[in-house]
């Protein structure tokens, strides 16, 4: 009986692990992702909006700068000007399922060597929910 239970658990574990690591809508386990509450507790954070320009122009986090990959070369200089090594950087895109904020955060770490870059969990959608 015990063996059968173990066998069942192992059988269930395989698809669960596959889904956890490869499903496109898997939950985030990353430690570089933060909640709105944590991000707001940082008074001097540099907020970056990774959404397309039209979404940014419609509404954005107060003080945020636009930095999306479509206009990367044109937008990056303003971000470099605003950044300093003591500031945390918070990048967001539209929602939990969007990838743009993670891509922008990766490039800032890899190409510009920013060390304190965080992705906002839930993105703009989560921000809006807490500010209604």
């Amino acid at each position: 009986m015990r063996r059968q239970i173990v066998a069942l658990l192992l059988l269930a574990l395989a698809p669960a692990l596959l889904a956890a690591f490869f499903h496109p809508r898997r939950p985030s386990w990353r430690t570089d992702e933060i909640t709105v509450a944590v991000a707001q507790s940082w008074k001097d954070a540099l907020w970056l909006d990774a959404r397309p320009r039209d979404a940014f122009e419609h509404a954005h986090v107060p003080g945020a700068l636009l930095l999306n990959e479509d206009e990367w070369n044109d937008l990056l200089p303003a971000v470099l000007d605003a950044w300093n090594p003591d500031r945390n950087v918070v990048v967001y895109c539209s929602s939990l399922s969007c990838q743009a904020s993670r891509d922008v955060a990766r490039r800032l770490r890899e190409e510009a060597q920013f060390s304190r870059v965080f992705v906002l969990q839930g993105g703009w959608e989560a921000w809006e929910k807490t500010h209604r």
Partner: protein, 216 residues
């Protein structure tokens, strides 16, 4: 008893197989930003015994578009989903999930994944140097590697501000270089312009790359 339940569950799982059989649900493509876009094709066959309609495709980025060659596929019919990824200004490795929604009662959604590597003629690591407030203004280096497929015979580099001096070190001719940058002042920023010399004049590859530096 437990094993009977297990067999029933596995049987159900086996019967819930998609009628649309893809040759591969994951693909990889490498491109340079100058190409503008990366295109990949996901080929499939309707392996079932009834028609399947593709209701739509979902992507997570405005940079990716997925289109089908038609909507309804008869049993045995082959089809294709073309995925286009916009490369302009992008750099590095990207993973784009594509959800294909169908009216197949067995499997209503099939997940595809396209991985794209966008590499330019030169890779600058890093492309931004800074000297923190109070840090000694010593020399720092930008490592430049030439991507395979680009024929470069040398590099020229210059700073846009006289407060910084720039020197090119050749590590492996045509393959790897260092650009050594030394600031001579405080509280300034400038650009470092890097021009590759291509073996073939008139190459379509980018003519100039820009790194940036800032002294706090």
């Amino acid at each position: 008893m437990i094993f009977r339940v297990l067999i029933a569950v596995l049987g159900l799982a086996a019967s819930a197989q998609a009628q649309l059989k893809f040759q591969s649900v994951e693909q990889f493509v490498a491109v340079s930003p100058g190409e503008g876009r990366a295109i990949s094709h996901f080929n499939f066959t309707n392996a079932g015994n009834y028609h399947v309609k593709i209701l739509g495709t979902d992507t997570t980025c405005g940079c990716t578009a997925a289109v089908t060659d038609k909507r309804v596929y008869a049993p045995g019919e082959k089809g294709q989903i073309e995925v286009t990824f916009k490369t302009a200004n992008r750099h590095g490795m990207y993973g784009e999930p594509i959800a294909v929604k169908t009216d197949d009662p067995q499997v209503k959604e099939i997940n595809l994944h396209l991985r794209i590597l966008v590499r330019d003629a030169l890779e600058l690591q890093p492309m931004f140097l800074y000297w923190a407030a109070g840090e000694a203004p010593g020399e720092k280096k930008i490592h430049v590697s030439v991507t395979d497929g680009f024929d470069v015979k040398g590099l020229n580099a210059s700073a846009s501000d006289a407060n910084a001096t720039v020197r090119v070190e050749t590590l492996k001719p045509g393959r790897e270089y260092n650009i050594a940058v030394t600031p001579h002042g405080h509280s300034f920023k400038c650009a470092v312009n890097i021009q590759p010399e291509y073996l073939q004049p008139g190459s379509n590859a980018p003519k100039e790359f820009v790194a940036r530096l800032r002294v706090y």
